[in-house]
């Protein structure tokens, strides 16, 4: 006998319609913006009739076809969005790699140390996790200006790594707790040092946890606005602050479409991320959240 066996049709109908409404709420804004990004501003923000955005009446009149890549061309080439996306790639890749190296070492130590200070460190990390990022940024700016660290990509990378550490430590700590102690301890009985045991025994089995944690580090670095907007100079800007800077120029006809196109471009990698890693994201929360 399964649990689902005694469902009334009414309940099924209610559940199905609830899910449908939720799915529309979750997906429609993205679908609409993707579709609209290939139109001109007169259609996407239509004064006359919202169906213009669907049919592309003005796009047809202005460009001769129902779809136009003008927004993308404007954003990527004219406004130099390619440069911002390169910067984003650099920041995100290095942030993820360094966060994971620091985090696996630290998380492993926290999982294997039985002393009281390990608990206090985790508590401190929880408090650090709660700090609004922008409050920390207000502490960085003056010293960074004085030491000439402001504006460079490496500065933002190391700041994002540090901001990421509390979460990474918690996640990997609870992941390493699930790896039996016997595994590395038997290696040490066989004569390995702690570090050798870590390298030869733990590293080969830790990848599922590392991949999940890496995904969340990626999201944090990719989605960040407070740090990158305030710590990077104009030419080192990453995608999100760059998109925010498009907003200032919405009065000019066409520029808002640059922002729409840039938004779609910046969201595409995130879509791919869940297409490929949905199982890890869900699974990671299962181990990380349920235990931690």
């Amino acid at each position: 006998m399964t649990v689902a066996s005694r469902r009334s049709p009414l309940l099924i109908a209610a559940g199905a319609s609830f899910v449908l409404i939720w799915l529309v709420l979750a997906a429609f804004p993205f679908a609409w913006t993707l579709w609209g990004s290939f139109k001109v501003q007169g259609d996407f923000f239509s004064k006359a009739d919202w169906t213009y955005a669907l049919k592309g009446v003005r796009t047809l009149a202005e460009t001769g076809s129902a779809f136009t890549g003008a927004g993308y061309e404007g954003a990527w080439i004219q406004q130099g969005f390619w440069r911002a996306s390169l910067n984003t790639i650099i920041v995100v890749v290095f942030t993820v790699i360094i966060s994971l190296i620091f985090g696996t070492l630290g998380g492993y130590a926290l999982a294997r140390s039985g002393f009281r200070y390990a608990f206090w460190l985790l508590m401190a990390a929880l408090v650090f996790r709660a700090m609004p990022h922008v409050t920390l940024v207000s502490g960085y700016l003056l010293p960074f200006f004085q030491w000439n660290l402001w504006g460079h990509l490496p500065t933002s990378i190391i700041v994002l790594v540090a901001i990421n550490q509390p979460f990474t430590l918690w996640m990997l700590h609870s992941f390493f707790l699930n790896i039996p102690r016997d595994l590395d301890e038997s290696a040490m009985v066989d004569g390995c040092t702690r570090f050798q045991a870590f390298r030869r025994v733990i590293i080969p089995v830790m990848w599922p946890g590392v991949i999940t944690t890496g995904l969340f580090s990626f999201l944090l670095a990719y989605n960040d606005f407070a740090v990158t907007a305030l710590l990077l100079s104009q030419e080192n800007q990453t995608m999100v602050p760059k998109i925010a800077s498009f907003m200032g120029s919405t009065q000019v006809e066409g520029n808002v479409m640059f922002a729409v196109a840039a938004v779609v471009s910046a969201t595409a990698p995130l879509f791919l991320l869940i297409v490929f890693f949905q199982r890890q994201i869900v699974g990671g929360l299962m181990t990380g959240a349920v235990k931690g």
Partner: protein, 344 residues
């Protein structure tokens, strides 16, 4: 693990956190006690034979710039910045208290002060969005968990979208839709029959919009956590409850919900921390005129052409205090759990 090995393993992570999280907090404290140097004034006497001598005061731009470059921290101001009009506004609050005849009047006077306005929005946002996120996330999780297996993958995929999208981008996408010329904005105008209806114009509607955005953005996080939790509900217990004649509602109430309680606490904790720092939606929705949060005020102080570090730092300190108040119950609880575990 011996102390020395522990230290060697944790050192990179610990150093990063100490230098870039703990030290900036100290730097914020120091900054909040200082204020930018005032402009240097110089007095010049100009004499001409007809009208006699006149003293004029002008701003010495070069000297001001030099002084500010030499001491970027500014001059010591004690708690002055904390008490000024843009922060706790002690003088204004006292005045408002004396002038008001009722609590409501005092409240509305308080709302005209930037710090209290930001505080009001931040707290409203945090304590409205968090429960809605938990309830909505739980409903979605329960319903999707009951779906046939083939539908689960695609529905989870779509449900994750609002969560993983960059907050600034997600809010901009919705902002364009609620624009008077966007699809939701113009539909609302048709529905209400008010061609001038604008979600951006009134403070109440702006707050509602931001809160709806917040629920939309965070519900998937609650959903996915609860969904993960539902996978570990023991089917044996559920079946035993069914055999004992428990209805669907009773099984939910007495088996599933108690199993999920720790997860609800977890989601609540994360949501309180994240919603308290609400900031990107205000930028994305260009809502600063009607709603500003503590984090937004800090950002605004730092992003302007001549940043006010002292003011930003004071707001930061007050924000950190707020976070501490939010966290104390959690920390006390964890501490008790930890101690009881040690004893047993």
């Amino acid at each position: 693990m011996p102390h020395s090995t522990f230290l060697r393993f944790i050192l990179p992570s610990l150093a990063a956190m100490l230098i870039f999280i703990a030290a900036p907090i100290v730097s914020v404290i120091v900054q909040s006690l200082h204020v930018e140097h005032a402009q240097v004034l110089k007095e010049a006497e100009t004499c001409d034979p007809f009208s006699g001598c006149k003293k004029t005061t002008t701003v010495d731009v070069a000297a001001t710039a030099k002084l500010r470059a030499q001491e970027p921290l500014g001059r010591f101001n004690g708690l002055g910045t904390y008490l000024d009009r843009a922060h706790l506004a002690s003088a204004e609050v006292a005045q408002a208290w004396a002038a008001s005849t009722s609590v409501g009047e005092f409240g509305s006077r308080l709302m005209s002060l930037p710090f209290y306005q930001a505080m009001a929005f931040t707290l409203t946002y945090t304590f409205v969005v968090t429960p809605f996120v938990i309830v909505l996330g739980m409903l979605i999780a329960l319903v999707i968990n009951g779906l046939p297996a083939i539908f689960k993958g695609p529905t989870i995929f779509v449900s994750l979208l609002p969560m993983i999208v960059t907050p600034l981008i997600g809010s901009m996408v919705l902002f364009w839709m609620i624009d008077a010329r966007g699809i939701i904005g113009s539909s609302l105008q048709t529905l209400t029959g008010d061609p001038n209806l604008s979600l951006k114009a009134s403070p109440i509607l702006t707050w509602v919009t931001l809160i709806i955005y917040g629920v939309w953005h965070s519900a998937p996080f609650a959903f996915i956590t609860f969904y993960a939790g539902l996978q570990s509900v023991s089917t044996d217990t559920l079946e035993a409850a069914m055999i004992d004649g428990a209805s669907r509602w009773e099984r939910l109430r007495y088996v599933v919900i108690p199993h999920m309680a720790p997860l609800v606490v977890f989601v609540m904790l994360i949501q309180l921390m994240d919603n308290f720092r609400v900031f990107e939606p205000i930028v994305g929705f260009s809502a600063a005129a009607n709603a500003s949060s503590l984090s937004y005020n800090i950002y605004n102080d730092l992003a302007k052409a001549s940043p006010s570090y002292g003011s930003a730092a004071a707001t930061s300190m007050l924000t950190v205090l707020g976070v501490a108040v939010l966290l104390i119950p959690v920390l006390v609880r964890t501490w008790r759990d930890f101690n009881s575990r040690r004893v047993s």
